[in-house]
């Protein structure tokens, strides 16, 4: 299958729904090891994304992804804003001009998104950040032949849950040192919503 513009819209809508529904949960995760705004920031950003892309006419997948990127960059703020913004900007650039995205191109896009976030955040896998969800998802999808909803669900879930055991060395949770262990990384949980929404979108389109 290939991701069409309408599916990207659906992906964003589903992500927004999950984020709005879990706004308080995300905030409470961030209150535990950060500053308690992650839910508020993501909810503000994705609400705008959906307002921007729903009903709009996009010629290409890269165009809509660029708008998603710019909206997140301009509305989320904090650490998550530039990171998610960078991710979608890289994803968009990587599929530049493409009307729709096949799995191979998507994976290349994810790889560039991941590299972009690492560079922007000066971070690596294993530091208890959303990188810890994006990296395994990218890796597993690379092995698959086509979009695979179950694989996405599972990988994102396992990766997100694993962040509980990591001692943070980047982001605000790093200030807590050892005390950060035992808590989920809020950014990984929002990324988990992003990827499960993608999985649901794929499932709908399979």
């Amino acid at each position: 299958m290939e991701l069409q513009v309408e599916q990207i819209v659906t992906w964003m809508e589903k992500t927004n729904e999950k984020i709005q529904d879990n706004k308080e949960y995300l905030t409470s995760l961030d209150q535990a090891i950060g500053d308690g705004d992650h839910g508020i920031n993501m909810a503000r950003g994705f609400k705008e994304v959906v307002q921007k892309v729903s009903g709009s006419d996009y010629e290409s997948a890269s165009d809509i992804l660029k708008d998603v990127a710019m909206t997140l960059m301009g509305k989320v703020g904090g650490a998550a804003g530039p990171l998610y913004g960078t991710a979608f900007l890289k994803l968009s650039a990587s599929v530049k001009g493409k009307k729709s995205i096949d799995c191979g191109s998507f994976v290349t896009g994810l790889e560039e998104a991941l590299a972009g976030m690492k560079q922007r955040g000066k971070s690596e896998q294993g530091e208890k950040t959303l990188i810890d969800t994006w990296a395994p998802v990218t890796e597993e999808m690379k092995k698959a032949e086509d979009f695979d909803a179950s694989l996405l669900f599972e990988t994102a879930k396992t990766a997100m849950e694993k962040t509980k055991d990591i001692k943070a060395t980047k982001g605000r949770a790093a200030y807590l040192g050892e005390r950060s262990i035992g808590h989920l990384d809020p950014g990984s949980v929002s990324s988990y919503y992003l990827f499960t929404s993608l999985a649901e979108t794929i499932r709908g389109g399979e």
Partner: protein, 331 residues
């Protein structure tokens, strides 16, 4: 949560409206942004100074707008770094052609958003330099981690960088003196109560009636250690000692002291703390050039305080003392 607010999601917008209404002759808001610029900016031939960050630290940052201090303050959402487009607007608004200097507190979000804005500005031919303030000794400084946070010491960077720019310093000279301040300023904070972000509705941590939290940041983050509440003298000892341990102070060094209230601690308590801090510094043989007691970098209605020491040299001392009409910078 008891607050004098309207819609919890719109506190920043509402605050800025009231801020501009209060200071119509000295401040203006760039339309459709949360950027506050002082009237008269850009000042011809002067390096523009921009700072900002999440809101909730008032009087930081808009209170430091004024001659000899900041030219623009970028006000993010509650405790949330402003976005690159906002910072970019601020940079454009204060560039006189002599370049713009960014004072950034060391938080991942602030650093990333301000850096992206700097990239946007440079792409348009504006020279931008920056300093990242990391005065909080509660947090370990390590190149493998996020590093120390920027807290109340940032206000000294605003003042001294601002004074250098006002005195005609070049972008590089402003950067140099700002880096000197960053290298010589250290802070340590504590809290008696947490604070509540309006849209979150509940505090980020709780403390028992007899507990205090040492090493808190300025965003309602939990600190590094929870303890039984002690006397003001013991709090002074603990915070001051941590600061003194972090950089080398020699007997005879001149320092500026800031006793900063986190939001709801009465000035009376800050002065009580100051009494002991000064005693400790005198014993240590330090010369106290100037003392600032009050609310300079708050965390909403958190109760608590921080102690900041800035080691001075001839240049920074003179720049610290130079005139500024920024309303929130007074001792």
């Amino acid at each position: 949560m008891k607050k004098i607010i309207n819609n919890p999601e719109e506190v920043v917008q509402d605050m800025l409206k009231g801020l501009i209404a209060a200071h119509p002759n000295s401040l203006k808001q760039i339309p459709n942004t949360t950027v506050i610029v002082r009237k008269g900016a850009p000042v011809p031939n002067k390096v523009g100074i921009v700072s900002g960050g999440g809101s909730g630290h008032e009087p930081a940052h808009a209170g430091y707008l004024g001659e000899g201090m900041l030219d623009a303050a970028v006000c993010g959402e509650m405790f949330t770094s402003p976005t690159p487009d906002q910072v970019f607007e601020a940079i454009k608004a204060v560039d006189s052609g002599s370049g713009v200097f960014l004072v950034i507190k060391n938080y991942t979000g602030d650093v990333m958003n301000f850096e992206m804005a700097a990239e946007l500005a440079e792409a348009e031919g504006i020279s931008v330099e920056k300093v990242v303030v990391n005065d909080d000794v509660a947090v370990e400084d390590s190149s493998f981690t996020t590093g120390r946070r920027g807290i109340a010491g940032t206000v000294f960077v605003h003042k001294i960088a601002g004074a250098k720019a006002a005195a005609g310093g070049s972008l590089q000279e402003v950067k140099d003196v700002a880096e000197k301040v960053v290298a010589n300023v250290r802070s340590m904070g504590m809290a008696l109560t947490p604070c509540t972000v309006p849209a979150a509705g509940k505090p980020s941590f709780t403390l028992d009636e007899d507990e205090m939290e040492i090493g808190i940041g300025i965003h309602g983050e939990p600190g590094i250690e929870r303890k039984k509440l002690t006397s003001a003298d013991e709090v002074a000892e603990e915070l001051t000692q941590k600061v003194l341990d972090d950089i080398k102070f020699n007997s005879g060094d001149e320092v500026a002291v800031m006793i900063n209230g986190m939001g709801s601690t009465p000035e009376m308590e800050l002065y009580i703390l100051n009494g002991k801090v000064q005693e400790i510094l005198h014993e240590r043989g330090l010369t106290i050039h100037k003392t600032f007691v009050g609310e300079y970098m708050t965390s909403l209605e958190m109760a608590g305080c921080s102690v900041t020491l800035l080691k001075l040299d001839k240049e920074t001392k003179q720049l610290l003392d130079s005139d500024s009409n920024a309303p929130a910078f007074h001792s």
